[in-house]
Amino acid sequence: MSGSPPVRNARPTGRSRRPHRRWSPGRIAGASVLGSWAALFWFLLLSGRENLYLSARTSWVVPVGAVLLTAAALGRIATVRVESPEPLRTREAWVMGLMVVPVVLIMVLPPVTLGSFSAGKRTAYSGAGFATSVGNIVTGELTLVDVAAAQTSKEGEQALAKRAAEEVDFVGFVTRYADTPAYEFMLTRYVVTCCVADASVAQVRVVNVPPGKFDVNQWVEVKGQIYPLGREVIVNASDITNVAQPERPYLTP
């Protein structure tokens, strides 16, 4: 070839022809952060804990996130050896460390859900926009979502009123306010459409409760007759039993 360089006497070795690559601290740090987030998403997926943060409608985000973050971390790892490694600034290193803090928080702490503390601070569930549930109120088995939906629309209230004195079976946790009598509690469940940040409250007042037997935040199954009274729904309990927290603690409309 006319354009080829002149041949030297010393035969070049494979090592000398290949560029010498070294580890880049900045790239390693970035890959570590990505890898830790990928690990968190796999952890959520394998432990089923995504149900504590997301609704059934959006839980697909976790497997997708796990795969994408893993791909991003592996891609980043593949770039960590470079010819001239760039230094990593101390400030940037600490910021990357802070980005791992949420991973530590979520993985280390035991599984927790929204409890009674938030019940008075969050908006009541509105059934508007889920009008199909009015049909369920008329005929189907009543759920807490149906009851909550009925409380916020005239048609729903009327449909629910027709089912007065029917037997219901609800699962939720115990909530008490300052003015709640000892022989009553509010049976509460959060309705989550996307993630827990948008949780709204679905509640019924449970009466005929043995005083002092059920603690706040205790998950219970309440069986009894339902009595819709305008915008409030009362359940006259015939049986209340302690139950374990459901696998999906939040309801999806």
Binding site: A29, R91, A93, V104, I106, T123, T132, C194
Partner: protein
């Protein structure tokens, strides 16, 4: 070329470089924090438990979308030829902003993802005001958001007011804000972020193949945006943990105030545009116009975006966007209130 501009003369002390000792200190602190959390069980305190759950849910839900945004930004940076974007700049000036806004239809990204894409577009030479219009419009006009708005309001009489109103008003407000931003230069708009400075730790080498360049860019953008998402989610979780909803419900009946309150609520809640319609739909005590304000203003300005903008753009940009977007949204939704009630 913008990427090889010489850095400004900097008389400050050179930045301190992390050593192996720094890395070990960070790892040790993380391990100690984990052990401390495990032993002290802070989740037994009700407000801490609430904060952790809300913070975790916001981050877990939003982070994959940030990565998708970073992916799109890296694709634009590495694989899309500059010529394609220059075509947008070749349009007559009055058409550039609407075209940039409508370009958002092609990229199903949320507001977190649109910021790195806009930054990349500016770096690639797109007119900054057009990139801002794209950044604000894309989280509202993209098909995923239109579909989620439709699903959230499908049984309401206000269905088409909400779906078409959100699309149209979102586009108009984005164009207006882009127009307000005006003929600002790239250097005056963008803040240099550490990964893009010539002294950066993670700049791709000249001879690196495109796939390495792609992964590096994607990771850089994710790490840059991710820190602000964590900050924004922290603020949003604090507010959600302590703010009673009854306060907002009291003002729902007041016409202008209800719109302002819904805009403020959207700012505070910092929800993803792909999911916020479900939340807006649950505020039945508010008129459709107030809910529309929530859906238009929220994807443009909120806690986490404030942090993202502050990290991406120079001082003053956030103020411009807040004022212009709030004014335009208020006027637009008031008109809708007058016309449709």
């Amino acid at each position: 070329m913008a990427d090889v501009l010489a850095p400004e003369t900097d008389l400050r002390e050179p930045p301190r470089i992390a050593t192996l000792r720094t890395a070990l200190a960070i790892v040790l602190l993380l391990v100690l924090a984990a052990a401390g959390l495990r032993l002290s069980s802070p989740q037994r305190v009700a407000w801490i438990q609430t904060f952790f759950v809300i913070f975790g849910s916001l981050v877990i839900q939003a982070l994959p979308f940030v990565l998708v945004g970073a992916f799109a930004a890296a694709v634009i940076e590495v694989f899309i030829p500059v010529g394609m974007l220059e075509r947008l700049a070749e349009l007559p000036r009055p058409l550039q902003l609407p075209a940039a806004g409508l370009a958002g239809i092609a990229l199903p990204i949320c507001e977190c993802g649109s910021v790195p894409v806009a930054r990349r577009l500016i770096r690639k030479g797109l007119m900054p005001s057009a990139a801002v219009t794209f950044m604000l419009a894309a989280p509202i006009v993209n098909p995923v958001v239109v579909a989620s708005t439709f699903v959230a309001y499908r049984s309401r009489t206000s269905l088409w007011t909400m779906v078409a109103g959100r699309f149209t008003l979102g586009l108009l407000v984005a164009i207006a804000v882009g127009w307000v931003v005006g003929h600002i230069s790239q250097e005056d708009l963008l803040k240099p972020d550490p990964s893009e400075e010539p002294t950066a730790a993670v700049e791709p080498e000249r001879r690196e193949p495109r796939w390495r360049h792609f992964f590096l860019r994607m990771g850089n953008d994710f790490l840059f945006m991710g820190r602000f998402l964590v900050l924004g989610a922290t603020l949003a979780a604090v507010v959600q943990t302590f703010l009673p909803s009854t306060i907002t419900a009291k003002v729902a009946g007041l016409p202008i105030l209800s719109i302002l309150v819904m805009m403020a609520l959207a700012f505070v809640l910092s929800l993803c545009s792909e999911s916020d319609a479900f939340i807006a739909a649950s505020f039945v005590q508010f008129a459709p116009s107030a809910q529309l304000a929530f859906l238009v203003f929220g994807p443009m300005v909120d806690f986490k975006l404030g942090a993202l903008y502050a990290g991406t753009f120079r001082r003053g940009f956030l103020r411009t966007v807040v004022v212009a977007a709030a004014a335009c949204t208020l006027v637009g939704t008031l008109w809708i209130q007058v016309i449709w009630g």
